[in-house]
């Protein structure tokens, strides 16, 4: 009885998981690619099937618009997507995506993809919602986020330029002969305070220092 239980458990683990998008936005007249892929513990079988169904917004009925089985893709030739569908997926790579051309406002609705990988057939179909717009709206918060990002970016830029300027100016000053400058000890202290990478070295026998670029 232990082996029977293990077999049942193994079968329950082997559910097929189907992935589509959650929501897709598109412009009127454009094409859209609805992607569908699945995860399965078994190798991709020769009898893998993909089927897409479409349910218009506000309607309770769904119609079948695409079916791939036995290595052949069958497209809608009677319904609302007649001559507008194209199979762009790769079943060998578990991709059952379709391309819908020349979108219209009537194409608003929910598209459901169901994939089966025999013997792995237990799974939940996944749905993607299509929204067709005349003008693609900017999602809430994008403009606000953009303003914040630009201001912070400018701030970072200002800080970077400031440190760059300080570094370049100090470099040019120290290309001169340090010994010829009066009060080299004070100059070394100034350079040290500026935070430049200089190591003041005391010249033996004197109380001046020579600053070398580290």
């Amino acid at each position: 009885s232990l082996t029977i239980n293990a077999h049942v458990m193994a079968q329950q683990c082997q559910a097929i998981v189907i992935y589509t998008g959650w929501e897709r936005h598109a412009l009127v007249g454009s094409d859209i690619r609805l992607s569908c892929s699945f995860f399965s513990w078994r190798w991709t079988s020769e009898e893998v099937t993909f089927s897409w169904t479409y349910r218009p917004d506000g309607s309770r009925d769904s119609i079948s618009i695409f079916h791939y089985t036995g290595g052949e893709a069958y497209l809608d030739n009677k319904g609302p997507f007649k001559d507008r569908l194209e199979f762009v997926g790769n079943p060998g790579r578990r991709d059952g995506s379709i391309l819908i051309k020349n979108l219209d406002f009537n194409d608003n609705g929910t598209f459901t993809c169901d994939a089966k990988n025999p013997p792995d057939i237990v799974g939940r179909p996944s749905s993607v919602r299509l929204l067709v717009f005349e003008k693609v709206p900017i999602q809430a918060g994008v403009i606000t986020g953009a303003i914040i990002g630009v201001v912070l970016g400018l701030l970072v830029l200002v800080v970077v330029i400031y440190y760059l300027m300080r570094f370049l100016v100090a470099r040019r000053v120290f290309s001169l002969n340090v010994r010829s400058v009066s009060g080299p000890a004070a100059l070394c202290r100034w350079a040290f305070r500026q935070g430049l990478e200089l190591r003041p070295e005391p010249i033996p026998g004197t109380d001046t220092c020579v600053a070398k670029l580290a």
């Binding site: 809430a140 403009i143 606000t144 303003i147 914040i148 201001v151 912070l152 305070r193």
Partner: protein, 161 residues
């Protein structure tokens, strides 16, 4: 030492007020409606529901984005000023002023002033019902606190290492 702690507490309270003003939903309130720059709560049949802000001529979207962005930026700059203050506390040479901290705090002050001013000028101008809520008032108080805080940083000198 006590003075420094006092300054820091002033700064922290400015940050807290800025956060409450930006996050809490009470810029304009009536009996059944509470709204701020992010959303609107409506009391329908005794239950509060979150709805989107109206989009129309009396709710200009671009000014709304400006208020949102400047309010968030004010919080961010005040946060940065707090960290810069702690950094300058340990790295500033003796006798120097906390100018960078003051600059950031002044930026935060200016940004929350811009946010509150735009909101006052462009939103709820013709509405007869309702009044400004506590978040709005706190935004102005935060403006005052951050202004005082930034002036203090511009004047304060580091006494000891």
């Amino acid at each position: 030492m006590l003075f420094l702690i006092g300054i820091f507490i002033l700064h922290i309270s400015a940050i807290v007020l800025l956060l409450v003003a930006t996050i809490d939903n009470a810029w304009w309130v009536t009996d059944t409606m509470r709204t701020d720059v992010w959303g609107r709560w409506l009391k329908i049949n005794g239950v509060w529901n979150l709805t989107d802000l109206p989009t129309g001529t009396d709710y200009p979207q671009d000014y709304l984005h400006a208020v949102q962005a400047t309010a968030v930026l004010a919080c961010i700059f005040s946060f940065i000023a707090a960290f810069v203050f702690l950094a300058q506390l340990f790295t500033l040479p003796k006798g120097q002023r906390f100018t960078i901290t003051g600059a950031f705090q002044l930026l935060a002050c200016v940004f929350i002033m811009i946010a509150a001013s735009i909101y006052t000028n462009r939103f709820h101008v013709k509405e007869s019902q309702g009044s400004y809520g506590h978040s709005y008032i706190l935004a102005w108080i935060a403006f005052g606190l951050s202004f005082v805080s930034s002036i203090t940083y511009f004047v304060l000198r580091k006494k000891s290492a």
